[in-house]
């Protein structure tokens, strides 16, 4: 084929790029110097085998592509804003380096033998950033504020198990009867029924102390006048432009290392990665191309920290819709998917999901029924189910997430191999969310779930207990309802004995996987890039990253 005019123009443009690249390579030395510095640093670290002596001081430079919705602890509810809220606010309980609860602002705490009454004594001398002492009444106020529908808190549902919460929410009571502060340092929380996971709820950033006087003074505008009892205080929040935080002079807990935290708003993955490499930023989230680029370059490899997340991305089959109401069909789909290839599609930034509960939750289930990649078995099961020639269906997924797009296209081919003709139907987040959470709408689709707290109930009970099925806004998108599973889940969630709970949840997971309403796909691993001057970047199983523990090389 002869080149036409359009092709000649296309050739001219790369010519310009090439000359620009040659010129810049010729002049370039700074970024290489930076990368060599990183290499020296990483080899020094590998020699000493540690991060060295932690150092106080400096400003940690972070970036967010979009501004936070809110840093008000009653509202903030995503993996990016929660670590920032943790800098500004602290609650009664926290996690150690793993998933064990430790007291934070509580000096001591106890749970009554019936599992219904939680008693906390606050440490003396804890203060908000304005200098006022934190009182137990502030906790009562903060929890009531979350329950109040006017606050529009996404975490309201976590607190509705408190005695008297329903009456308060319905407007029949002015206060929640289960919350009381007999003196300024004692907080008593009474639950309607025993609830093992409530202790984890108390470690979430929803459950921190907010200063009653300040919140009442500013009302909804409190988010612009945040005043918390965390290690840092907000010094500037120019919406859409930047957030700045400095040390809270009144903080008495274990101090953060850096003097200040600066969050720039804006940018995309590749711009941010370039800024990081040039020393303009200290931490950025990488997209798949940047992650692979950093991983392959020996000079840059030490910048990359893979953060395993307690998440599961899954293929759901609507058990109320034909032909996925047949367990044989659902099992066939499980056997049809080549998960090892899916893993390669993510550039290695994922682990294979064999079960529902992510292993990052310190969870191992050896009893899961294995669904290896076996197209012959899948075809045999389909024949047995009465579909010797396969069937046609629609396969919905959310197009906003590039990983879901790749997974969907790949799985479509796998399904084709066993005779399932699935036509792809991409949708944006809102449309997909609306349809998949409504009954009889989406027969087959991809979705994911992140943990709220490290307890298997957060996956198994929330997503599979058939008693919670609603016609719309239902998180059980497979609409799976098995009375035996429901019974196991009810018993497990009601139990207060950790060993018994684990046993029951393991049984429930085995049963659900055998019924196969899902084909679990992957657990995502987030590629995060850190500047070589940042230390203590090891991921945390719940908080993912803890900025207050990071320290910086002298600049």
């Amino acid at each position: 084929m002869k080149p036409n005019r359009a092709i000649r123009t296309v050739v001219a443009l790369p010519g310009f790029v090439l000359s620009l690249a040659i010129a810049t390579e010729f002049f370039s030395h700074r970024s290489n110097a930076m990368a060599s510095a990183a290499m020296t640093n990483s080899s020094a670290e590998s020699l000493s085998g540690s991060d060295g002596q932690p150092r106080r001081g400096g400003t940690l430079h972070l970036v967010e592509p979009t501004d936070f919705r809110s840093l008000d602890p009653a509202i903030a509810y995503d993996t990016e804003s929660v670590p920032i809220v943790r800098l500004l606010f602290r609650g009664l309980l926290d996690y150690d380096d793993g998933v064990n609860l430790v007291p934070a602002q509580a000096e001591d705490w106890s749970i009554s033998p019936d599992g219904k009454t939680y008693t906390f004594h606050l440490r003396p001398g804890i203060r908000f950033a304005d200098g006022r002492e934190v009182e137990a009444q502030d906790y009562v106020f903060s929890f009531e504020r979350i329950l109040d529908p006017v606050t529009e808190s996404p975490g309201q549902g976590f607190f509705t198990g408190i005695e008297g919460a329903a009456e308060f929410v319905a407007g029949k009571a002015r206060h929640v009867s289960g919350l009381s502060a007999p003196d300024s340092r004692t907080l008593i929380i009474k639950l309607k029924d025993p609830q093992f996971t409530f202790r984890y709820v108390l470690a979430m950033t929803f459950a921190v102390a907010e200063p009653q006087d300040v919140v009442q003074h500013y009302g909804k505008d409190f988010e612009n006048h945040l005043d918390g009892s965390g290690p840092y205080r907000l010094t500037e929040w120019k919406r859409g432009i930047r957030v700045r935080m400095a040390r809270n002079p009144f903080y008495t807990g274990p101090d953060g290392y850096v003097d200040a935290v600066d969050v720039m708003i804006g940018g995309d993955n590749s711009t941010e990665a370039m800024m990081l490499e040039r020393g303009e930023l200290d931490r950025v989230m990488a997209g798949p191309p940047e992650a692979i680029y950093f991983e392959r370059d020996p000079r840059l490899r030490s910048f990359l920290v893979p953060v395993p997340t307690a998440n599961t991305d899954y293929l759901f089959m609507n058990t109320e819709m034909k032909p996925f109401d047949r367990v044989l069909v659902r099992r066939a789909v499980n056997y049809a998917i080549n998960k090892a290839r899916l893993l390669r599609l993510t550039g290695g930034f994922a682990t294979l999901a064999n079960g529902i509960v992510p292993p990052a939750m310190s969870w191992t289930n050896p009893g899961l029924p294995p669904y290896d990649y076996n197209p012959d078995k899948a075809r045999a099961l389909l024949r047995q189910a009465g579909f010797p020639n396969g069937f046609k269906t629609t396969f919905a997924y959310m197009e906003d997430n590039p990983i879901y797009v790749r997974l969907a296209q790949d799985i479509q081919q796998d399904l084709q191999q066993v005779g399932i003709d699935a036509s792809l139907r991409p949708a944006n987040f809102t449309a997909f969310d609306l349809e998949s959470s409504s009954r009889h709408q989406v027969p087959l689709g991809i979705w994911g779930w992140f943990q709220d707290y490290p307890d298997p109930s957060d996956f198994l009970d929330v997503l599979f207990n058939g008693r919670y099925i609603t016609p719309t806004d239902c998180n059980n998108v497979a609409f799976y309802d098995n009375p035996s599973a429901n019974r196991l889940l009810d018993q497990a969630t009601a139990s207060l004995d950790p060993a018994e709970r684990t046993r029951l949840f393991l049984q429930a997971e085995d049963l659900i996987m055998d019924d196969a309403p899902w084909a679990p796909l992957i657990h995502e691993v987030l590629p995060v890039l850190y500047s070589p001057r940042v230390h203590n970047t090891a991921p945390h199983p719940v908080w993912l990253w803890r900025y207050e523990w990071m320290w910086l090389n002298p600049s």
Binding site: R30, T66, G266, F429
Partner: protein, 309 residues
């Protein structure tokens, strides 16, 4: 028809255009499926909280009523609140407008500083190698896509060479590279526009008259010819500055500048309806008012138009 009534008629139609835009965009965006309350409150929101959000954002009302609420808000100068950041849309636009305005100003100054001398000199030396060289360069600059050029300059001059900050907004230096990007896209067009007008003006009798009187070449070019050659440029410049929002959309995003362009793109990605409406209306207002301003300015600069010559 006298000037005042002509102006009032134009003003009326400008208002109608804006109202039409508002209604059209409102319907286009509101036919998208999905429940905003779930975006706002997340997957674990209780029905009580979802109902509260529906109520406070008027989502439980029929669409014509919501349009009514929206237009009523608009009439009071309130563009509503962002679904994603809960910030007032007016506030968000006002915080970001200075960044975009300074970027636009930097770019305009840059491209005029280059385009005016280029236009004048290529007119003087028309047909020579210099003129042809600029013509080729101008065609090249005109054909470059904004996002591509922004990325290339960012990669070469900021990331590799370190002459400029890669991205972000830390004062005037952060505007230089985005300014150069925008200027690069426009400089060729303006150099040619000024060239064409200069060629025409240089042939006119009054320029020949000035030369005959013995005026120096610089005086002829810059005192006599240029001011007249710039008249049509004013019109185009007015429209371009208003339309620059299209250019800053890519440039601001690549350089992570917290301006209107970044806001617009982020709102589209986040399906933030009130913010999308706000940026679209701002852009429409800019174009409509630039049209109006240019119309008035033109009559003032060039009395021949008013006189009807």
């Amino acid at each position: 028809m006298n000037f005042l009534s002509r102006f009032l008629t134009r003003l009326f139609w400008s208002g109608v255009t804006l109202l039409g835009t508002a209604v059209l965009v409102f319907f286009l965006i509101n036919v998208m499926p999905g429940d905003v309350a779930r975006i706002i409150a997340g997957p674990k929101a209780t029905p009580v909280v979802l109902a509260e959000i529906h109520h406070s954002y008027h989502l439980d009302e029929p669409i014509w009523k919501r349009l009514g609420f929206y237009l009523d808000q608009l009439a009071h100068g309130d563009l509503g609140h962002s679904y994603v950041t809960d910030q007032s849309v007016t506030q968000a636009i006002l915080t970001r407008l200075p960044v975009t305005a300074s970027l636009a100003a930097t770019a305009v100054v840059m491209w005029l500083l280059v385009a005016v001398p280029l236009g004048v000199l290529t007119a003087k030396y028309r047909g020579r190698w210099f003129d042809r060289g600029v013509l080729v360069g101008a065609t090249f600059s005109l054909s470059l896509p904004a996002f591509w050029l922004a990325r290339m300059l960012q990669y070469g001059l900021a990331y590799k060479l370190g002459w400029f900050p890669v991205a972000g907004f830390r004062g005037f230096t952060s505007l230089l590279l985005p300014g150069i990007t925008l200027a690069f896209l426009f400089v060729g067009y303006y150099a040619r526009l000024i060239h064409t007008n200069m060629v025409e003006v240089l042939d006119s009798p009054y320029v020949r008259g000035a030369r005959a009187r013995g005026a120096s070449e610089a005086t002829v070019l810059f005192r006599h010819a240029l001011p007249n050659a710039l008249i049509p440029v004013v019109t185009v410049l007015g429209m371009d500055v208003a339309g620059l929002l299209g250019g800053v959309l890519f440039t601001e995003n690549v350089f992570a500048l917290p301006g209107i362009g970044t806001l617009a793109v982020q709102s589209v990605f986040n399906l933030d309806v009130p913010m999308i409406m706000g940026t679209v209306l701002l852009s429409a207002t800019l174009v409509v008012s630039a049209n109006l301003a240019v119309d008035i300015l033109y009559r003032w600069i060039d009395p021949r138009i008013k006189a009807g010559y």
